[in-house]
Each structure stands twice: as C-alpha cells, then as structure tokens.
Symmetry: C2
Subunit: 149 residues, 2 copies
C-alpha cells in the first residue's frame, strides 16, 4: 500500500519508537497522521489507542501503528473498536501472519520488549503483506460481530 | 491466586498448548473450566475467544487462558468484551508487566510462535503477579470505558 495514509500514536513509553517508525513511513512515501503523544511526559495509553482506532475505523487512515511499553495496553484499547484488528507484533513472523490470517489493520509494538530494528522490519512486512482471504475471511467477519456482554 | 477457577480455550492451532497449560493449572490446584476446542479439527477462533471472555467477565472464572496460532486473532476477539483485558504474552517479562501495569485478566499465547516451556513459565508468572495499582489504576479504568464508534 505505497502512498496510503498511516496513523501513528503512542504513550510516553512508546514515544521514541513511534518517532523512528514515523520517519520510516515518511521515507517510504506514506502520508503520516501523527496523533501523539509528542514527548516522553506521562500520558494515558487508552486515550491514544482510542484516538488511533477512530482514525482508522473512520477511514482517515488505512492503517495504524501503536506503541506503548509492552504494546499490550494500547492494543487492548484499540481493539475495543469493532472496526479495528490491532495485532501485537513481536517479530516479522507475527507481523506477516497478522496480515495473512487476521487482516490486521493496526500493528502494535512494545518499545520496552522488542528492539527498534525488529520493529522497523516487522512494520515493513506488515504494510507489504496481503490478507489471504479464503477460510480466514469468515473468521475475520466474526471479529466484527463479536458482541459485548 | 491458588485454587481459583481458570477458564481455558483455544482453536485447533492452539489445542496442543492449551492441553499442556491445562494440565499445569490442574497440577497447581486450580479448577479449570475448559471451553474447548477439543481436537485439532478446524474451528473458528472468534467463537472460542468470545466464549472465554464471557466466562471471565461474568465471574464464572477469575482468569482466562487463550491459545491460537499466533494468539493475535483469539485475543482480539476476547478484547471486544469491555470486561476483558487479554494480554498477548510472548515471555515472562510481558506476562509480568501485563499484570503489574494492565491488570490483565486473560493471557493469550501463540502456539506457532513461542515454545511450550516459555508459555508454561509465563503463565505461572501471570497467575502469581499482582496489579501494581497507583498510576496504572486510572488507565485500566479507562480501558473499560473506551467507547466503540
């Protein structure tokens, strides 16, 4: 998806990696919608996960990138939105499979648990891998229909 | 939380690891609520993620364990339920942080991406680590209030 708009967001613990990934996205020709945070001052990850989810679900961006300390909290926040499939990505393999099998539209990273080079390569694979469809399509459709109790 | 009820669920690609973790839980004195699947025949992970989320959110179990190929799809399904904080766990460190910072009530594992010993040790840490509260409590509360658009 060269040239597509990619939204990025992080909390303070993911700020540095968010900035690195943002530069890579711009260098690859993507328009980047940066939803913050803009420093390492303490903020609440749910606010940023929610804002990014709304940007992607509404079509303002076609993909999203989230970073917090572990990637766990901010990806949980994003996945509250039924239009979002946020994959917590630890490596190239999980990035690839999240696209092929889950049609993930958001990649989440943990700045404290994986290195920047691993994240950079995984994001590249995430953005260049297509959904396989087929038997996976029905399962992905069910993810949008999962009711809340 | 020795003796508490732990719900477990997986799809076909996570069945073998689910069975291993189930035996560990039983050996540690937990009551285990096994929501399937019960073989390696192909099933849809959203059905199992949703069922486990309902069991934990309703209080039938105090914690949950999910397994699919990567852990990504089944954890997205569980996190559609606002009462669930499902952490995709890749190691002991992310298991510990998901409890300390996110008060995660479900641990999700990817059978195709981490080894059984890593998952076994991470689950042990997940179940024995307390939430830190403090500055994290307000963020966790926001995770339950994240609106869907």
């Amino acid at each position: 998806m060269p040239g597509g708009t990619v939204a990025v967001a992080s909390d303070h613990a993911g700020f540095d990696l968010k900035e690195i990934l943002k530069r890579d996205l711009q260098a690859a020709g993507h328009e980047v919608l940066d939803l913050g945070t803009n420093s390492t001052q303490s903020v609440d990850y749910p606010d940023f996960g929610r804002a990014l989810a709304e940007a992607v679900a509404s079509g303002k961006a076609s993909r999203g990138v989230l970073v917090c300390g572990t990637g766990i909290g901010i990806s949980i926040a994003a996945n509250r939105n039924p239009g979002i499939r946020a994959a917590l990505v630890h490596d190239v393999t999980s990035a690839r499979l999240s696209r092929e099998h889950n049609d993930a539209n958001v990649a989440a990273f943990g700045q404290r648990v994986i290195g920047a080079e691993t994240a950079r390569e995984a994001l590249k694979v995430f953005l260049s891998t297509n959904f396989e469809g087929g038997r996976h399509a029905g399962r992905v459709a069910k993810l949008s229909r999962v009711a809340v109790s």
